[in-house]
């Protein structure tokens, strides 16, 4: 595996339940006890910081950001994997501030990372993936005829050139790049386990913010947005789009996403159907955003982001826990009763997720 270029939060700090850590401290070997105690301390520190941070406004957050340097400036590097299957970093193709190059995949990744960084910074006051200025590293031309893009959990986003059937070059889509970078954001926040409902929530976060990145770049209202994912990069098999947040299950002939809990799919494939059942929270977000009207990132996006950082959201949280967090965060930010709280409730009701 490529080595990380940054200090990042130990996944152990989020995945292991506190009860288990307490058991290890009580009954483990000396080394295990020490590691568990460290983990609990780190976890507690993160939770305290997160709670303190959540209580501040975007303006004061910008002012109190020494942890991430100045902020507002991404640190991008794009690597050319030259169609190799190697996951070690390839040749540097473009660095931050470097001029445009001949290769469109390199420039697309660079530019769309910039748009995604800008969205998180300007709209949510977030400084990169870890909110501390983490470098944004993209690896393009990964493998041969590779019809996929992924986040490796170690700070790297990989993009294939597509197979021409399912997908063309994956870097051509801003919402795809926003989707992948958001997986990193989720890892550094709720760290939702990539399995079952928490995995589907993880996927939905990436679709929600991927879509918002695009809407923000186009200055579109919720009413004008297409709410499609990947429509710029689907090949003939998946045309006209990969997923629809507005009408899950209708994007292409293989789209099996449910819009409501009535259609929840139990499957062992795809880590428990994480890309299938994400249709349910996606639809809840769409209904919330369009019920509120205006620009989806201003209220609905803010509520979803606050909820991703809600201290009650655990790595194994499911739809109901997240739905309740969105109501709570809407109440905190907009008051109760308020049209925002009503819209959030309407969203989850439409998706048939009981609060």
């Amino acid at each position: 595996m490529p080595t990380s270029h940054h200090q990042h939060r130990s996944p152990l700090a989020c995945i292991v339940p506190p009860d288990l850590l307490r058991d290890v401290i009580r009954e483990g070997t000396a080394a295990e006890r020490e590691a568990a105690a460290d983990t609990m301390a780190i976890d507690q520190t993160f939770r305290t910081l997160r709670a303190a941070f959540a209580a501040t406004t975007a303006a004061t957050r910008s002012a109190m950001r020494p942890m991430g340097g100045m902020g507002g400036q991404p640190q991008r590097t794009i690597y050319d994997q030259k169609n190799s299957n190697a996951i070690a970093l390839g040749t540097v193709a473009r660095m931050e501030g470097g001029p445009k190059v001949k290769d469109p995949a390199v420039n697309e990744a660079y530019d769309y990372f910039g748009s995604t960084y800008k969205f998180f910074w300007e709209v949510l006051g977030r400084n990169s993936i870890d909110n501390a200025g983490m470098p944004i590293l993209g690896l393009v031309h990964y493998s041969t005829n590779y019809a996929n893009a992924f986040w490796d959990g170690q700070g790297h986003m990989f993009f294939g050139d597509g197979d021409g059937q399912l997908f063309v070059r994956l870097t051509k889509s801003l919402d795809v790049i926003g989707h992948e970078l958001t997986h990193g954001v989720t890892q550094y926040e709720a760290n939702l386990v990539y399995q079952g409902q928490s995995g589907a929530l993880n996927e939905s976060m990436s679709d929600v913010f991927g879509s918002l990145v695009q809407q923000y770049a186009k200055k579109q209202t919720a009413a004008k947005a297409d709410w499609l994912i990947g429509n710029e990069v689907v090949g003939p098999t998946l045309k006209p789009a990969l997923r629809s947040m507005k009408a899950p299950g209708t994007a292409n002939k293989y789209d099996k996403q449910p819009a409501t809990m009535d259609g929840y799919v139990n499957t062992a494939a795809d880590n428990g159907g994480v890309h299938i059942n994400s249709g349910i929270p996606n639809y809840a977000f769409y209904v919330t955003a369009t019920t509120l009207g205006g620009k989806a990132w201003e209220k609905a996006g803010r509520i979803w982001y606050d909820s991703l950082r809600d201290e009650k959201i655990k790595p194994t949280s499911g739809f109901k826990a997240f739905a309740r967090a969105t109501v709570r965060q809407a109440q905190v930010r907009f008051g109760d009763p308020s049209p925002e709280v009503d819209a959030v409730r309407a969203g989850w009701e439409a998706a048939k997720v009981r609060l």
């Binding site: 299957n85 019809a147 986040w151 490796d152 990539y194 990947g230 293989y254 795809d270 880590n271 890309h275």
Partner: protein, 102 residues
């Protein structure tokens, strides 16, 4: 009926499952031979975490592979990208071109 081999690649950013199901008696001899050769290399030992482990921690949108072989006995495994098992790698090279979306 010969040995049945079913390979599913699910997940990825698209979440589309590609499924290849072959009966080794019904495919061209060279395909059957390539599948048999690859299967001999596949490590079905569940105690080896890299061949049957979960996805990489924190990773998202990587592929999941499910292999089921029904012959004299039934064997199966689940693995995640990047494939560490050379037999499974070889098998996916032979079978994925025959796979269809599901």
């Amino acid at each position: 009926m010969g040995t049945q081999v079913r390979l599913t690649r699910s997940g990825g950013f698209a979440g589309i499952s590609l499924v290849a199901t072959v009966d080794l008696d019904d495919v061209p001899a060279e395909t059957a031979e390539a599948v048999r050769a690859a299967l001999k290399q596949v490590d079905f030992n569940p105690s080896r975490p890299r061949s049957q482990g979960g996805p990489l921690r924190g990773a998202a949108d990587m592929y999941q592979y499910d292999l089921e072989v029904i012959g004299d006995r039934r064997r199966s495994l689940t693995a995640h990208e990047p494939l560490a098992d050379p037999g499974l790698q070889k098998l996916s090279e032979v079978l994925l071109p025959l796979a269809r979306p599901e």
